[in-house]
Symmetry: C2
Subunit: 391 residues, 2 copies
C-alpha cells in the first residue's frame, strides 16, 4: 500500500427479522433494512454517495439479477452508483469490504451497504441445489456433494484427527441457540439441549438437522462514513479497523487439509496485522457457523484456540458469556438464521450493537473490540473484519 487511506466508521445499522417472510419480497426486505440503517444514522438519502449490496443467488432464487440498480431504485437513491457483489455465503462480507474501500479511498464519503437473501419461496431441495453453486458445480454438486456433505467430510476428518465426538459438535448448536434466545431478530430464539441435537435426523453423517443453519429470508444494512466526520452523526462511533479477504481452492478435494480453512487463516492474519491487534484483543466475535463444525474450525483458524482444541473450549464454556471470548452472541447462522447474502452484514450489525453497548440481554460487558468472520462456500472465500469502539 503506497497511499494513506482514510479511517472508516459505521454510523448506522439496520436489520429485518430473520425467518420465513412469505408476505415480503426481496425488495421489501432490503428496503426495510436500508431505511432502518438510514434512520439509525439520522441521515437522509440525498447524503448517500454510493451503495453496495451483497446477494448470492437472487437470479436463481427469484429470477432477479441487477440487484444494485433494483435496490437503489426502491431506496430512492438514483442516480448514484449501486453495485452488487457476490461471493456465495461471503457476499455480505465482500460487499462490506468494497464499501469500506470506497470510503477509505476518498472516492465516496457516505456509503450504504446491505445484504439480502429471499430463500423460502422455493423448496428445500431447490435451495440446496442452488446453494451448491457456492462450491464447484462440475466437480462437487453435479456428483451429489451438497454443502451438508462437504462440511460432513470436514467434520469427519476433524473428529478422526482430534478425537472429537458428535456431542462436541452438538454443544456448538446448544450454545448458539441459547444466545439466540436473547436476540429479537433471530429466526429460532429458543434454547435447545444436547438431546435435541443428538436426536435430530442425519442430513449428512455426522451432521444432523440441528448441526445445520436454516434456510432464511432477511436483510441487513450499514451506513459507512469517514471517521473524521462520524461524530457528527453518532456519539457511539465504531471504527472498521481492518477488513481483509482471502481465497482458497473452490473444491474441497484440492485442499491440503480438511481440518482448517486456509482462507480464514490468511485473511485473519492480514486483518490482525493491519489493526495492530492479536486474537487475544478480541472481546466478541461473530463467526461463520453454517454448520457446527464450521464454528470449531473458525475459532481455531482465527487464533482464538489452538488447532484441535476448539471443541474442548466450547465444552468448557469458554465461548459463551463469562468465558474467554463470546462467540456468536447473535446465535450465529445456526440459530439467528442464514439469509446468505445478508449474513456478512448482519455480523457487522451485531458487533456494532455490542461495541455500542446496545445489545440488551446479550450484551458482552465492556466490549471494546469485535471481529466478524464470513465464509463463502466450503472456504473458497473468507472475509475477516475487526471493529473498535472509538468514542
Amino acid at each position: 500500500m503506497l497511499l494513506a487511506m482514510r479511517r472508516v466508521a459505521i454510523i448506522g445499522v439496520g436489520i429485518t427479522k430473520f425467518g420465513e417472510h412469505w408476505e415480503k419480497g426481496l425488495r421489501d426486505l432490503a428496503l426495510e433494512a436500508g431505511i432502518k440503517a438510514l434512520e439509525d444514522a439520522k441521515i437522509s438519502g440525498e447524503k448517500i454517495d454510493a451503495g453496495y449490496v451483497g446477494n448470492m443467488a437472487s437470479g436463481s432464487l427469484a429470477g432477479q439479477e441487477h440487484l444494485g440498480a433494483l435496490l437503489g431504485d426502491y431506496l430512492g437513491l438514483n442516480p448514484i452508483p449501486i453495485t452488487r457483489v457476490e461471493a456465495a455465503c461471503a457476499s455480505g462480507g465482500v460487499a462490506l469490504l468494497q464499501a469500506y474501500l470506497a470510503v477509505a479511498s476518498g472516492m465516496h464519503d457516505i456509503v450504504v451497504v446491505g445484504g439480502v437473501e429471499k430463500m423460502t419461496d422455493l423448496s428445500t431441495e431447490q435451495v440446496t441445489a442452488i446453494l451448491g453453486g457456492a462450491g464447484d458445480q462440475e466437480w462437487e454438486l453435479f456428483h451429489g456433494a451438497t454443502f451438508p456433505a462437504l462440511y460432513a467430510l470436514m467434520a469427519r476428518a476433524y473428529m478422526n484427527k482430534f478425537k472429537a465426538r458428535e456431542e462436541d459438535l452438538a454443544r456448538v448448536a446448544v450454545k448458539n441457540h441459547k444466545h439466540a434466545s436473547l436476540v429479537p431478530y433471530a429466526q429460532f430464539p429458543k434454547p435447545i439441549t444436547i438431546e435435541t441435537v443428538m436426536n435430530s435426523k442425519y442430513i449428512a453423517s455426522p451432521l444432523k438437522v440441528f448441526d445445520s443453519s436454516p434456510i432464511t429470508d432477511g436483510a441487513s444494512a450499514l451506513v459507512l462514513a469517514p471517521l473524521e466526520i462520524a461524530e457528527s452523526y453518532t456519539n457511539k462511533v465504531v471504527e472498521i479497523k481492518a477488513i481483509e479477504q482471502a481465497s482458497d481452492t473452490i473444491a474441497l478435494h484440492d485442499r491440503s487439509s480438511l481440518v482448517e480453512i486456509n482462507s480464514t487463516k490468511v485473511a485473519s492474519k492480514k486483518a490482525y496485522k493491519k489493526a495492530g491487534l492479536s486474537p487475544k484483543s478480541i472481546d466478541v466475535a461473530e463467526v461463520h457457523d453454517c454448520f457446527t463444525i464450521a464454528e470449531l474450525l473458525a475459532i481455531e483458524d482465527l487464533g482464538f484456540f489452538k488447532k484441535g482444541e476448539g471443541f474442548k473450549a466450547v465444552g468448557e464454556g469458554k465461548t459463551t458469556f463469562g468465558g474467554d471470548i463470546v462467540i456468536n452472541t447473535s446465535g450465529g447462522l445456526k440459530a439467528a438464521g442464514h439469509p446468505v447474502g445478508a449474513t456478512g452484514i448482519k455480523q457487522a450489525y451485531e458487533i456494532t450493537l455490542q461495541l455500542r453497548g446496545e445489545a440488551g440481554k446479550r450484551q458482552v460487558k465492556n466490549a471494546q473490540i469485535g471481529l466478524t468472520h464470513n465464509v463463502g462456500g466450503s472456504g473458497a472465500t473468507a472475509v475477516v473484519g475487526i471493529y473498535e469502539r472509538v468514542s
Copy 2:
C-alpha cells in the same frame, strides 16, 4: 473526493473468440482470456494482488455462483482476494470500475479484471428469460416484457418523436457488421446489407433479428497497474482517465423519457469532467448496442450528436471510418457478440488496441483518446470510461 488517488493504467489485455463454444466451459473461457492478459503484460501470476470478475448470470446459466473464487483457483491466484461483481449487462464495466478503485486507492498494485459469460448451453427461450432478470422481474418480465420488448418500446418512442424509420435503425447494424468483418474475435465477421436487416423477422416490432445482439460465449481480461510503474511492463501505456457509474429506475415504466438513458448522461458527464475532456475529444468509442436503437440513444446521450439526430449521423457515415467519431470498431455487441458479463471488459480491450495502434485493419488513425459505454438492463446502470494513450 478528499484524497489524491493514483493514476491507473492498462498494462495487459486478453480476449477469447466470441461465439458458440460448445467445447469449452465457463472456466476454460475465463482462463484463456486471463492467461492472454497476463502474457500480454509479461507478468507472472505471483505479481497479481487482487482480481475482479464481471458476470451476470452463471448461477442461472450454469448452476455456478462464487465465480471470484472459482476463477482465482483456476488461474492459480490463491490466496489473493478475487471478487465477482454483477450489474446485468454492465457487469464487466462495474467490475472494471471496482478494479480501478482498488489500484487508484493504493489498496492493491497489480489487479487482473475479467468478464465472462457462457450462454449457449441453454435454449434461446431459457436465456431470454434469464436475461429478463436484468430488468424488473416482478413488473416487467413476469408480464412478458422481455428485453427485445423493452428496447422495442424505446425504439418506437424514438421513431415517433424524431421521425426515424426502421431503415435508420438498420443502418446501425450494417455499419457494425462491416466493422466486425475486420475483427478476428468477432462472432459474426461478415458484412450485411440494409435488405438483410429489413427482411429479417420481427422479434418485437420494430426490432428484428438483425437489430439484435446475439447470444454469445466469451471472455475478456485486463491487467491494471499504477501509472507510475506501467512503463516497466509496456512501452504503450494506456491510462484510464476516468470511469464513472450511474443508475436509473430498474423498470422502464418509471422513466420520464423513453428516448434517453439518464444513467448514460449522468455517468458520461462525470467522466468527462473528471478527465477534463469533452465529447469532441473522443477519437473512438465502444458503445452499448444490445439493439440498434441502443446505439442511437448512446451516441446522443454521450454527447457525440444532438438528441434526435444520431440516426442522421449514422446515415451520413459520421460514425464509421473517415467520419467524425468511429463508433464500435469491434462491431459492437451487435456483430462482435455479447457475452453479457464480458462485454464491458471487451470494450476496454478494443479501445486499448486502438490507442496502442494495434487494431490492424480496423485501426482508427492517430487514435489518442477512447471511450467505453456499458449499459445494464434497459439503462438502470451505465458505466462510462475514458482512456488515453500516454506513452
